[in-house]
């Protein structure tokens, strides 16, 4: 029998709070973390079509983590370190008592160390002094800098991987960690999603792609509006989420409190277009079906979906079409929300933070609101969507995440057993 895998620790850095307690309180209150970007010093914002983002305000890595590790990496990896510190403490896992080769780290990151990357590239082109490129440039921009520094910080010597599939990166990180533990290659995997690329070049790139909301620059809190008739693109966000995954046997042995079981995962490609989803939704529906089958469940058992829902006109409609195809009449009985309505699209962090919202829904029976769902778009109306927090016993939750490059992921979580929920390591 394959090993069951459970979630025993959570940590988050988000535009609505650093730390699970603040994040969840703000999320249930429907608080928006979207604000105006004052400037990309020294760039004024005038030339940018979109001028709003979900920014993590007043973040200073040394307030949270050892500077020895924080100083050597870019902002996204600092977010990851902070989220992991909280998640490990939350899990009660003590690395000193673990076999370090049985503890892995899998990080999902879409863009990586773009702050330093952009600065160094700009200086090189302006000054034409190759010898002035910072010696830490390569280690910082290498996409596995976060998985590397997290392993170094905690002495985790098991599988150490970084998955980069744009906006679905950390949903795949969760799925790959599930497989890793199921197959017996690790007892524990620290799963992280992290991105911090609200930077002059990346932001301009998403503007040029016409992917970002631009109608709500004067009303930042209204800009991220998944499933709403007046949505006009996504709002960039930044942050990190961390989840401690371990085999159920390992968690039981150390009497850990279990938030939820992670039970299924599917990864597919639409093999269709680099940035546009297939309009028929067939591949999205197939991905959700595969993930449920991997969990040994059927569509009739799903209570809650944490939707990918970025608030692009086409993306949200395709996701709802896919949900209707797969769940048929049950689609309107499933509670659905969009975490991006609160924090924007955190790219590589989105799967992990959506995963945290899913796990907390299973654990607390509370589902955070979908902000700005003021005027339901008939093309993506579902009865389970709400501007208010909802309460419901959730036994099975489904997390969707789709990425540029025609990439789809779905992850299934199940309610933990009563015994696991009561324990506290």
């Amino acid at each position: 029998m394959r090993a069951r895998v459970v979630v025993t620790g959570l940590g988050v850095v988000s535009p609505i709070g650093i730390g699970i307690s603040d994040f969840w309180k703000a999320a249930l209150a429907g608080q928006s973390g979207i604000s105006a970007i004052s400037s990309f010093d020294p760039f004024p914002m005038d030339g940018y079509r979109s001028k709003v983002a979900g920014q993590v305000r007043d973040f200073s890595a040394d307030r949270f983590i050892d500077s020895v590790h924080g100083e050597r990496v870019d902002r996204y990896a600092q977010f990851g370190l902070v989220a992991v510190k909280e998640a490990l403490a939350d899990s009660g896992l003590q690395m000193a008592k673990e076999n370090p080769h049985r503890v892995g780290v899998i990080v999902g990151a879409g863009m990586g160390g773009m702050l330093m990357g952009e600065r160094e590239i700009t200086q090189l082109y302006q000054q034409q002094k190759p010898h002035r490129v910072h010696p830490n440039f390569i280690p910082v921009i290498t996409l596995n800098s976060a998985s590397g520094i997290i392993a170094i910080a905690y002495g985790a010597k098991g599988p150490n991987l970084t998955i980069s599939t744009a906006c679905s990166s950390s949903a795949h990180a969760l799925g790959q960690a599930l497989h890793c533990i199921r197959e017996g290659r690790a007892d524990v995997v620290i799963v992280v999603g992290a991105d911090a690329s609200i930077t002059p070049l990346v932001f301009a790139g998403f503007c040029s792609l016409r992917a970002l909301s631009s109608k709500y620059n004067d009303y930042p809190e209204k800009a991220s509006r998944p499933f709403d008739r007046l949505r006009d693109g996504f709002v960039m966000g930044e942050g990190a989420g961390a989840l401690i995954l371990e085999s159920a046997a390992h968690a039981k042995k150390r009497k850990a409190r279990v938030y939820a079981e992670i039970a299924g995962y599917a990864a597919t490609s639409e093999a269709y277009h680099m940035v546009i989803p297939r309009e028929d939704g067939l591949e999205v529906a197939y991905t959700m079906k595969l993930a449920l089958a991997d969990a040994g469940l059927t569509p009739t058992q799903v209570d809650y979906i944490n939707a990918h829902a970025t608030a692009t006109p086409i993306g949200d409609a395709v996701e709802v079409k896919a949900i209707r195809q797969l769940f048929k009449s049950r689609a309107d009985k499933i509670t659905i929300n969009a975490t991006k309505s609160l924090i924007g699209h955190t790219l590589g962090a989105a799967g992990a933070i959506g995963g945290i919202a899913s796990v907390l829904a299973l654990y607390t029976g509370k589902i955070h609101p979908t902000a700005n769902y003021d005027d339901p778009d008939p093309a993506c109306a579902l009865a389970g969507l709400s501007r208010s927090a909802q309460e419901r016993r959730v036994k099975v939750a489904l997390l969707n995440a789709f990425g540029f490059g025609s990439n789809n992921a779905a992850v299934v979580f199940k309610q933990a057993t009563a015994e696991g929920r009561r324990s506290k390591g």
């Binding site: 500077s67 010898h131 002035r132 910072h134 010696p135 830490n136 280690p139």
Partner: protein
């Protein structure tokens, strides 16, 4: 060997900033790795700062032998020339 107090102070200050400690606690006799705990990457970062501070380029072959704070001070002095001799040694190096 006598060292230029300005150059020495600048280098010790750069080191002190990097190591987050008082410049007075950085001595020219200290070994970069054994006494100050700099690993090879940290030495490279330090030299990067020194290149900027003195507007120098330090070729790879010159890294060998820069083991102590004093070695770095002497090296920079040599590259910049003695205080009274302006840039003469620098131009000699180029030739």
């Amino acid at each position: 060997m006598a060292t230029d107090p300005t150059i020495s102070l600048k280098i010790r200050t750069a080191l002190a900033e990097y190591l987050k400690r008082d410049p007075d606690r950085i001595l020219v006799t200290q070994h970069l790795r054994d006494d100050l705990g700099l690993d090879s990457m940290a030495v490279i970062e330090l030299l990067y700062r020194i290149e900027e501070a003195f507007d120098l380029q330090i070729p790879d072959q010159d890294l060998v032998g820069l083991a102590t704070v004093g070695h770095v001070v002497s090296y920079v002095e040599k590259r910049l020339g003695k205080p009274a001799k302006s840039s003469k040694p620098k131009s000699k190096k180029k030739s």
